[in-house]
Every structure is written in C-alpha cells, then in structure tokens.
Amino acid sequence: MIALVAFRVAAYVRSHRVFQALLPLLVLISILHAGRAPRGAEAAALTDSAVLVIPLLAWATRGLLDTEPDEQRAISATGVGGRPREVAAGLLAALVTCAAFAALTLGSGLALGLSATPSRGVVAAAAVVHALAVLAGVALGALTSRPLMPSPAYSILALVAGFLTMLLVGASPVYWLTVPVTAWMKAAGAGRLVSELPGLAAVSLAWCLAGLTVYWCLRRSRP
C-alpha cells in the first residue's frame, strides 16, 4: 500500500496539480505573516493560520484524489489487493501531502510571524490545531472528490459551503455541531487555547473521523 501512496503523491507532483494548492498557500502565508504578531498574540496568530489553511488543504486533497483517472483507480485497486486498500492509500497520500503543507504553514508562522518566542504549551497547542486542520481538510476534500461528486461545479460549491459551515456554526452556541474552527480562534484570542483545547479537539476529531467514515462508506458503492 505504501507503494501506491508513493505513486499517487508522485502523480500529484508530476502533473503539477500540486501548484494549484501550493501557490495560494504561499500567498496566504505571505499575507498572514507580513506583519509580525505582537507579544502575547502568538496563539491567536498561529490558530488563525491553521483555520485559514483548511480550504487549501481540502483543495489539495481533492486535487490529489482527482489526479488519478477512473480506470487507473480500478487498476490500482486490483494491483494493491482490493478497493478498501486503494481508498486507504488515497487518504494516506492526501494526509501526507496535507501534513507537509501544514508543517510549512506552522513553520513559517513560527519563523516569520511572531515578535516573541511562544511558550512550549502554545507551540504544542498550535501543532495540535494544525494537525486537526489537516484532518478537517482531508475529510472535506475527500467528500468533494470526483467519485462522490462528479460535477466540478457542485464539488467546488460543496467545498466552499463546507468551510463556511465550519466558520458560521463554529461561531454559534451549537459550535459542537461541526468542526468548531471559529471556537478555536475565539479561545486562542482570549488566551484560553491551551486550557480549552482538549474539549475542542475532541469535538473536532469526532467530526473529522465522521467525515472520513462517510467517505469510506460511500466509496464502497461509488468506485
């Protein structure tokens, strides 16, 4: 299965589709960290970047999964020993790619976007939030990929709508009905990210896993 993961990442890079996500990501990083965050606002700055990168990670996941032609997915499935392994390889390839993008985002934030060195707790919390952003991006991108949404127009609409839902519902009292990205930002802005992270992370993780499970189940009938 690792060989199939390498094949899919190689196809994504060699087809140059990787630039469709990488270039906007670099623009986002440049804008976000054009001015260094003031002392005491490290957690807020790093959390903002984690939230804003989610649609780009979803875009990257969708691009990676859609790089492979439909008939190649069939060939890959027989080669790797079955459809479940092929689906798992696709998700793993997306996770690897998005983890690299998220590491670039977090690394740039730590190196360029802060006036003061953050505490270890804030750095750890920022790493967790970026990891959750990766999961959210992969789940959203997978759910809007071609096997589930053959129409590119509906797919892009669904991707944007999914992120807006996270922002709007996450700002409401029923924030637990989605990945509560706005609640992450609120907690970070109020200086409570480290203390509130366990609860927010549990809700976020549950929704990400639910999204990935739905993708897994739907792919059984939509090869």
Binding site: F7, D70, E71, Q72, A74, I75, T78, G82, R83
Partner: protein, 278 residues
Amino acid sequence: MGSISIVRFFIATMRAALYRYSTMWLAQVSFRYRRRDRYVIEAAEARLGPGDVVELTGPNGAGKSTLLRLLAGLTRPTSGAVTGRPAVVGYVPDRFPTGQPFTVAGYLRHMARVRGGARWEPWAERVGLDGFSGVRLRELSKGTAHKVGLVQALMAEPGLLVLDEPFAGLDRDTRDALPGIVTEVAARGGIVVASDHQGGLGMLDGVRRWSLRSARLIEHPPASPGDPPDRLAAAGLAGPRDAVTVEVSVPARELDGFLRRMRDDGYPARALTEEEAT
C-alpha cells in the same frame, strides 16, 4: 523462536499458494446502478475453476464490462455474492488511461512496486513495448497504451485475469501472441475472462462461451466432436498460409450473430480492429 518463524513463513507461503489459484463462484449475482433502475445483470450463476478461459460476448450496453468489474472485485453486486476470488487479480480496461504524468517505464516501475516487486521487463519485451520505455503515456497510440495495460496486469502472475476487449487496437504480432499468453496463464491454474467482440480467443481449445442477453448470463455449450467441423482442418489446410482471408461488411448490430454463425460452421472468423479497417 526460529522454528516459529519458519512455521509462520510456511503457513504464509501455503496460504498464498492456495489463494493464488482457486475456484470462483457467482451465486445469484445481480447488479443495478440505482435503486429504481433496471437490472444490468440479473441472478447470474457460474463456477470458474482454475485453468478456465471464458469468452464473454453480448451486444453493446449488455453489461459485459459491468460483469467483468464484478468478477474483478471492483464493483459490489447489488445482491448475491462472488466468492473464492483468487488473491492476485489482473485487470485490463478496454481503454488504458493515458492521461497520467509518467513514461511507460516509470509507470510500470510504480505498478511493479504496488504489486510487491513484480518483474515487468520480460512482459514488456514480449508484447513489443521495449522500444517505448522512455515515451510518455500521453504520447502513446491506443494500441501501444493497451499493451501497457496488458503488462501491468500480467506482471504479477494473476490467478484471475480480466480482459475488457483485449484485442482492440493491437497490432497483428501482439494479437497473434495474446491467445498464447492467455493459454499460459490458464496452464498455470489462472482463470481468464475476456469480453471479446473480435473472437480472438474463440480458436483456443476448451474456451467456455458466455453471453449476456437481457441481463441474463448464458453459458453456451462447449465445442464437441458432434459440432460442425473446423473447415480448414477438414479441407486439409494446415494454417493461415493455406487459407484465404475474405472481407465481409455487416451491420454492427448483427456482428455477434454473424461471427457466431461462421464459427458454428467451422470458420475461424473474427472482426477487424479499427486500425485494420482503416
């Protein structure tokens, strides 16, 4: 500790050997794309033993490709079950997906790694791909791309080889070599199932003939001594050198019936590929 490892290795080896070549069963297999659609395949029953070669025919849209995908495990039946599928499956789609950013060698190297380190070079040489290693997949003709599809399926010694229109677009040398390759896979204990409008496998001994009509899978009786004789053999003609090739134009919808009548009369008939026809 060492003896436990040896036993584990032995069990794993035996398991791989057992499941590489096995008997497959189709039990009341039905398939439709959506809940209210008509069935594409309805209550298909079949047994496929090691060494079986099946030629699947049927009109366009009859569900041949769907049945092949069900056999390969790429699609789940709406009801019924396909059991006993061999562990290693080779699948050749009717159109190889050339829209990928690799050269022929680069692609086959990746597929060989996916297949656990299978050797693709001998197969590439055998089907005449050795001169195309550095060519990008996008630049291949339909026939050459089809050869790439064949090599990726054959390299892992499949226990089940599924071929969707394998003769389409192939040059004469590869078309002539393919029945021999199929015979080798079957002789090893593999099952070969091919949808074939051109009758390229019809000349092999012991080929089982399936057809799909009105969503029903029908198995036609195999050729027997009581069947119409092979007229080439009956006339004492040893092979193509002594025979005459004729060209007949028939309406596309009558092709299957025409080929069947010719074969029933003992003539080794096949349809021309698009490249040959032009």
